[in-house]
Symmetry: C2
Subunit: 344 residues, 2 copies
């Protein structure tokens, strides 16, 4: 089959790789209908060391079950399914608690012996625990929005949930990437009263407004912080959803959160430490979030996609074929595309 | 009157200072019955720069109201009262929410124009908002335990509350100082199932056992981390109460918290940053806590002291007169005393 590999910074190739086969009785084989490129894929795209044999990449996909191992009981060939961005057994204590990212027998896509999502097919370990059946056909117009259940939408939702967003909460969302926009959508869905979106790309913040942002702050740094303070009577918001992953974004987050408030972060951190000295201590700031257990949220988030109420798939503004995935990476890195859908 | 001043590291003096007088109609004058030395006083005692005129110190006291300003309505001369470690107006939005440490008109003791607690008397700003009346006499045997309501006991309680300790929670408490032991007491009171106390001073950890610790880990660093892991099936505890304030303690906290768990910190941080890179992110660790709004908890914590159920005052293992406060500091710095009560 064809699949995407990364050979180093800026070096994405689509190549022939061995067709996946069942290895464990709990595996399923899934033919990919749609996958996509994640903002977090841009980190290795920007800085990965040279790899002689390449490494599979891509962790968001939905597709059709083609074959199942003999211990898979909840799925059958022909089912349309979505995969969260980590696979998990679904039965360990962490999975039962809804923290599938810490599954005792789970792992990531595109790792040793496990296919990446940006390819024609994927062997899915622990298929019963990992995959969620979608009640749609292969040609459904809802596929892009359903694909967001793989990562970006639950990630924004996780950010809002861990921050404690609820009715009448004030929220600042930092970052107008697909995760930030998904966080806006999630915060709105949870009833947030004021949602300030910090972002400077007008086409993206326009979508942010459509998703529920009440205020847009295009300024960055000190100027942006001052603007959020102005919008909140000088105090900042009770919750801040940090959807970038850079230290500068985290510093902004800490500056615009109200005393006693919560900063939740879901952007894969490109830093090792965060400021947490006396100022943050005195102000009783909580820092939470992390890698989203997307699997935990899919059933909750799916109905509004199925009935057309919410369209998180609007974050996709470009579609490429599998062979054009390298161009898709470049478009996202250049900020020419917000999020790229891949149709193998 | 006599009051304690700090002139620099290791240089504590008790001197004559002007008697406090009412300045604002919302002030009260309080004659101090008991005060004490806080673990956090040891940080300036260890490292404060030389001060030509000295700086008042002490932020925990209870006493008798001697005089009230004309706008003070809830207190009268003769009332026995306890003061939390910051003063606050009691009516701003932060106070109403229970975050009096962020009061819009509040402040600390021993700052510009405000007396410290380690003296004979204190002018209390915003007396109605700040002071809590104690239903005991000046000679009550409960004064030491009631004095803990000023800081150390609510601080331990804040740590447990913000960490989300409740029935059946597993807890690691880092630090066998008075705050750590108070956190043990608070965690037990909140119903924690397993309370692992990390501390190496046997007399202190013995008190920790009395307060409710189920396990004692005297080892430090990697060895201590391994021991906590052994006690928790390899996972660590769901909550960690960091009651020291050193970076090493914070690193231990992050190492012994279970994935998805919470580290709460109430030890005044002697560090500027905390590790929060990909490992902590992937594990969905929450970092919370901060300076405890003691005022918010006093009414809740007082009844069990009054009826004798709980005796947080057991953290006091030495009593000194006001003139002997310098020796009290030295005894705490030498770890010869756990916490020193001052009887002016």
């Amino acid at each position: 089959m064809r699949a995407t590999l990364i050979y180093g910074a800026g070096d994405i190739r689509v190549e022939n790789v061995p067709d996946p086969v069942l290895r464990q009785p709990t595996d399923a084989l899934v033919r990919v209908l749609r996958s996509c490129i994640c903002g977090s894929d841009l980190w290795p795209y920007g800085s990965a060391p040279v790899s002689e044999h390449g490494r599979r990449i891509g962790h968001e996909f939905l597709g059709v079950v083609e074959e199942t191992g003999r211990e898979v009981s909840g799925l059958r060939a022909g089912d349309v399914v979505v995969a969260p961005f980590v696979w998990s057994d679904g039965i360990c204590d962490f999975c039962v608690e809804g923290l599938q990212t810490s599954c005792r027998h789970g792992g990531g896509w595109g790792t040793q012996d496990v296919d990446g999502g940006q390819g024609e097919a994927v062997r899915v370990p622990h298929a019963d625990g990992t995959l969620v059946k979608l009640p749609v056909g292969e040609d459904s117009a809802l596929l892009p929005s359903l694909l967001t259940l793989s990562d970006v939408y639950p990630t924004g939702h996780h950010c809002a949930v861990t921050a404690g967003v609820g009715p009448r909460t004030t929220v600042t969302v930092i970052g107008d990437g697909a995760v930030g926009l998904s966080a806006v959508l999630a915060a709105r869905r949870l009833g947030a009263e004021q949602i300030i979106l910090m972002g400077r790309h007008k086409d993206r913040t326009d979508l942010g407004r459509e998703f529920g942002a009440t205020d847009i702050v295009p300024e960055r740094g000190e100027e942006g912080i001052e603007r959020v303070k102005e919008l909140t009577g000088g105090d900042g918001t009770r919750t801040v959803l940090e959807c970038v992953g850079l230290e500068s974004a985290m510093r902004t987050a800490l500056a615009v959160v109200r005393d006693g408030g919560v900063v939740s972060r879901v952007g894969a951190p490109q830093y090792q430490q965060i400021p947490a000295g006396f100022p943050e201590f005195r102000r009783n700031i909580t820092i939470t979030g992390g890698g989203a257990p997307a699997r935990a949220y899919i059933e909750e988030l799916m109905p509004e996609i199925l009935d057309g109420t919410l369209q998180p798939g609007k974050v996709f503004d470009r579609t490429v074929s599998l062979d054009d995935v390298p161009a898709g990476y470049q478009a996202m890195a250049d900020r020419a595309a917000l999020k790229v859908l891949v149709q193998p």
